[in-house]
């Protein structure tokens, strides 16, 4: 097949791939911005996953606003204007500025008929009876018991008031309702609360841009009279996207520019620059398209890290162009290709092997990175093999670059000093460094390294949370059962057990579950039975004692007993509660149908001791404590530990492959430099105060893969030729430029990855000539 036909076919494959990928793009857009989709999913129990997903989806779309101003009336007016602007934006499925709507007002009318079923007054004994009588008397004597007197004949023990006090004391305690709005007034400011729900996912780029625009409209719409405080996942997502975009532009743009400048300085010709550019672009196109084709979306983190693929994909074109310094008398692209073919093919195989190791990890993010990189490398390799010989037929290079003499000096040093004893020293030192680093390098597997929350977003969020008293965290307890009734009974048992311990008392309850608002039928029957006991024995019951103390008429006593009888026929069912318009926020805790039956979530307040909760919930059937952050961090830790084995296995496989070709001594020469680079890098990370995480390990795997590329090229070249030295220098500079920039990333995971590869590749480059120089026996 002629070269032109091969090039045409190659281009056709790439165009088809890109077209197919375009058709496969997820409706949410080609870029995935959700940090959670980087996390492993197949590790967790399916119901836990459903519950976590259910609560995350509901919470993710919440977007809270506080409109504040020095004047109360201004703040209220501004809140109404802001709500109108929000409505016009069509961004939200729900905008709540008035909190005295039917769903709040109906709470009283909904629950009142069931008042004797809602409160557990405790088993009948003298202390309980005395307490109930005394509490009712106190309520009656209370100077601000307005209206209570009217309620008294229908609820002489004020049980409904107890139910309300116990369960409805969150926002109302810090915010008051004025003109239907939730308002908080401090010494100098008045805040008005607006609760909104986004129409679409906060990770949708269009939604993020629209929210950003809306905030600008709010700023101008409020004319500087009021300001806004906002909080929600959307705020983190917007900031995350902005940071990632900036980093992609920096890493991609600066590294391409830097690499092209280096090429131009070395070759003093535009052809290698254009040829390298074509290689990079085609590599990225294939990487992006294949990732889209397989995953439907490319994650933003994959793009940031995958941007550094540029640094590796350019290696192949570097070797191709550097061959110009080998063929002194007239350069021929086909001769160059014949000469470098084996070296770059072996390099491709080892890099693909190194990236394939990432496919084993269950992290979708790492899998994507592996697919993106492997496909990108194949694309770049194809570009060098099929396109560059055609594009560079007329290339002329005039003189040897100045850097070559320095490189020659470095290789010459190795030529003089490379010996078995030096290699033995390197082996011993590397083992010592590796052992020391494995002890000294501290590990950190916190999942939060995947994101870099902006301080301003965090500050707003903290202020808003503190004003609203919203302190529920990411940990929860999953409660399961075959039916809704069983779930409620299990939840009630759980809360009973939790309540027995001494917990810190704050403004908010320590936990929040649906069973507080809809007791199980079993519980209701029991509550009713206990309340009914207050009327017995006839004429001598607790109600009679109360009647004596305050002068209660017989009519009221009869009405109480009749009401108890009526209550026995009308239990509050889960379904009637669930379909009622009241308490939509509480109903979010109901997970619903699962593969095992039904489930609900009990949210836990931030700061509760997870060890205690874990110990309490452990022995209880159908209950499972879920600490999202800790659980995912633990998974990351497990995979970091596995990655160490992966690194060792990778080494052994590569060494075994090379052993057949180079024998024992040759294999040591090829494998030793990257091993020494990995060991030294690990120790340097200790000195730099870096922490070890999964992404450090991924970086070390890459150092191994790319480092072996370098030694292979030297080894395949038999002796250190100027062209090989230049090609490796080019490869190293491009990799260092690409990865080095990643070390400036604000996301810890990316930073760790970048700095590890930056240090590792530089050392691998310096040690690589060891593989291409003869080894003396001394």
């Amino acid at each position: 097949m002629r070269n032109r036909t091969k090039a045409f076919l190659y281009c056709l494959v790439i165009i088809s791939l890109a077209a197919l990928a375009f058709l496969r793009v997820d409706p949410k857009g080609p870029i995935d911005l959700n940090i959670l989709s980087l996390l492993p999913t197949n590790e967790r129990d399916v119901v836990v996953e459903q519950a976590a997903g259910s609560i995350a989806q509901k919470i993710n779309r919440n977007h809270n606003y506080l409109i504040f101003s020095a004047g109360k009336e201004t703040a209220k007016k501004s809140a109404l204007i802001a709500a109108e602007i929000m409505k016009d934006s069509d961004l939200y499925s729900d905008i709540k500025v008035m909190f005295d709507g039917p769903e709040s007002k109906n709470i009283g009318s909904f629950y009142f008929p069931y008042r004797y079923r809602l409160v557990d007054i405790g088993a009948a004994d003298q202390t309980r009876d005395e307490r109930l009588v005394q509490e009712a008397i106190k309520q009656l004597y209370s100077p601000m018991g307005g209206g209570m007197g009217a309620l008294f004949p229908n609820d002489p023990f004020f049980l409904f008031s107890h139910f309300l006090s116990k369960n409805f004391k969150d926002n109302q305690r810090t915010f008051t309702i004025e003109d239907g709005m939730l308002i908080k007034t401090t010494s100098d400011l008045t805040y008005v609360y607006i609760q909104t729900t986004l129409r679409d996912s906060p990770f949708n780029l269009e939604i993020q841009e629209a929210v950003d625009k809306l905030k600008t409209s709010l700023l101008s719409g409020l004319n500087g009279e009021s300001q806004t405080l906002t909080a929600g996942i959307i705020e983190h997502a917007i900031m995350g996207s902005k940071n990632a975009e900036a980093e992609i532009a920096l890493v991609g743009g600066v590294s391409i520019l830097g690499i092209l400048i280096v090429i131009l300085l070395i070759f003093r010709s535009i052809t290698p620059v254009l040829g390298s550019l074509v290689t990079i672009i085609l590599g990225l196109t294939v990487g992006f398209s294949l990732t889209l084709l397989i995953f439907g979306q490319v994650h933003i983190i994959t793009l940031v890290a995958g941007g550094s693929l540029i640094g590796i994909s350019i290696d192949y074109s570097s070797h191709f162009f550097a061959d110009v310094f080998r063929q002194k008398n007239g350069w021929s692209p086909s001769v160059a290709l014949d000469h470098i073919w084996q070296g770059i093919f072996l390099g491709l195989i080892t890099s693909v092997l190194a990236f394939s190791a990432l496919l084993i990890a269950p992290f979708p993010g790492l899998k994507q990175l592996a697919v993106f990189s492997i496909a990108g490398l194949l694309g770049a390799f194809g570009a060098v093999i099929f396109l560059l010989p055609l594009l560079t037929a007329r290339m002329h290079v005039h003189q040897n670059p100045a850097i070559l003499s320095h490189l020659k000096l470095w290789v010459a040093w190795w030529q003089l000093n490379n010996s078995r004893s030096l290699q033995s020293i390197v082996i011993v030192v590397s083992i010592v460094l590796m052992s020391a680093a494995s002890v000294l390098l501290k590990s950190d597997d916190d999942v939060r390294m995947l994101q870099a929350p902006a301080p301003e977003v965090l500050a707003d969020e903290t202020q808003l949370k503190s004003l609203l008293n919203q302190n529920f965290g990411t940990q929860f307890i999953l409660v399961e059962g075959a039916t809704a009734e069983e779930v409620l009974q299990n939840e009630e048992y759980l809360i009973e057990v939790l309540s027995e311990l001494d917990w810190p008392q704050g403004n908010q309850p320590n936990w929040l579950g649906v069973s507080s608002f809809i007791p199980s039928i079993k519980k209701q029957e029991n509550n009713l039975k206990l309340v009914a006991s207050l009327g017995h024995p006839k004429d001598e019951g607790v109600i009679n004692r109360l009647a004596e103390s305050v002068g209660l008429s017989d009519t009221v006593i009869d009405a109480f007993n009749t009401e108890i009888d009526n209550s026995s026929t009308i239990p509050l069912t889960f379904n009637s509660w669930f379909i009622s318009p009241i308490l939509p926020d509480i109903k979010r805790l109901w997970v619903g149908d699962t593969v095992r039956g039904k489930a609900s979530i009990v949210l836990l307040r931030d700061g509760l001791d997870s060890n205690v909760i874990s110990a309490i919930t452990g022995p209880i059937d159908n209950v499972r404590y879920v600490d999202n952050v800790a659980e995912i961090s633990q998974t990351i830790k497990t995979y970091r530990e596995k990655a160490v084995y992966l690194l060792i296995i990778g080494y052994v496989i590569i060494a075994a492959t090379l052993f057949r070709r180079y024998g024992a001594s040759g294999t040591v020469s090829v494998v030793l430099p990257p091993f020494a680079a990995v060991a030294t890098t690990a120790m340097l990370l200790v000195f730099l105060g870096e922490v070890m995480n999964l992404f450090t390990l991924v970086g070390l795997i890459l150092v191994l893969g790319i480092g072996i590329d370098y030694t292979l090229f030297y080894r395949e070249a038999r002796r250190a030729k100027p062209s090989t030295m230049l090609a490796i220098f080019l490869s190293m500079s491009s990799t260092v430029l690409a990865f080095g920039l990643l070390s400036f990333s604000s996301i810890l995971a990316i930073h760790s990855f970048g700095i590890t590869v930056l240090i590792g590749i530089t050392i691998a480059f310096l040690l690589a000539p060891m593989a291409g120089t003869s080894v003396s026996s001394t």
Partner: protein, 205 residues
């Protein structure tokens, strides 16, 4: 009957509404000006006698004790007759104090309506007009001897479903509060013997 109760409960629950119109309905004098003329109430202790007439009860509920206006956010209500009970009114609701009002281990009524009433009560006794104006339309009548009478009607239609009117009388100090409920129940509170506190009853923390 049940419907009536439900309406009553609705009112009890979420019946609070700010009303700026209150200022427009002020009678002869401005409420703030009235409070400015009075002796400062913070740190003052006075005696009370409360008589509650509740239709469901065959006899009125009479209680006596002292009131301590601790600060702008705390009013301690120390009932001594017919039995001893100490309550603290705070913006968080009505808290029953177990021993004195220092401790945090107080229980009490903190449902939204109780919180609202507690705030209004603090406003009445501490002389914070802005607290009162949120809840009521106010009418003031003064006479030449420096005494005055203030009548307040709830501005929110739902709140007015429970409380018909509250009247206050006083001179240098608040002397009398009468609460008339829609149901016909009423409460009379008489205050006397105002004097400066000697830190006898510290406020809640």
């Amino acid at each position: 009957m049940l419907k009536l109760l439900i309406i009553l409960l609705q009112s009890l629950l979420f019946a609070v509404s700010a009303h700026t119109a209150a200022r427009e309905n002020l009678g002869e004098g401005d409420l703030k000006a009235l409070y400015d003329q009075m002796e400062p109430s913070i740190g003052i202790i006075f005696e009370f006698k409360q008589v509650k007439n509740i239709s469901a009860l065959s006899r009125p509920l009479v209680s006596k004790g002292t009131v301590h206006v601790v600060d702008s956010d705390t009013v301690n209500w120390h009932q001594t007759l017919p039995y001893s009970m100490m309550m603290s009114f705070t913006p968080k609701g009505m808290l029953e104090c177990l021993h004195d009002c220092k401790g945090k281990t107080a229980t009490g009524n903190s449902n939204p309506f109780a919180v609202t009433l507690s705030k209004a009560f603090i406003g009445l006794l501490t002389g914070a007009p802005e607290q009162i104006e949120v809840f009521f339309t106010i009418n003031i009548e003064k006479n030449e001897q420096g005494s005055w009478q203030l009548s307040m009607a709830p501005v929110d239609p739902m709140l007015s479903g429970i409380i018909k009117e509250i009247t206050l009388q006083g001179g240098q100090y608040l002397r009398e509060v009468q609460i008339f409920e829609v149901s016909g129940d009423n409460t009379l509170m008489e205050f006397s013997n105002h004097h400066k506190s000697l830190n006898a009853e510290p406020g809640t923390n």
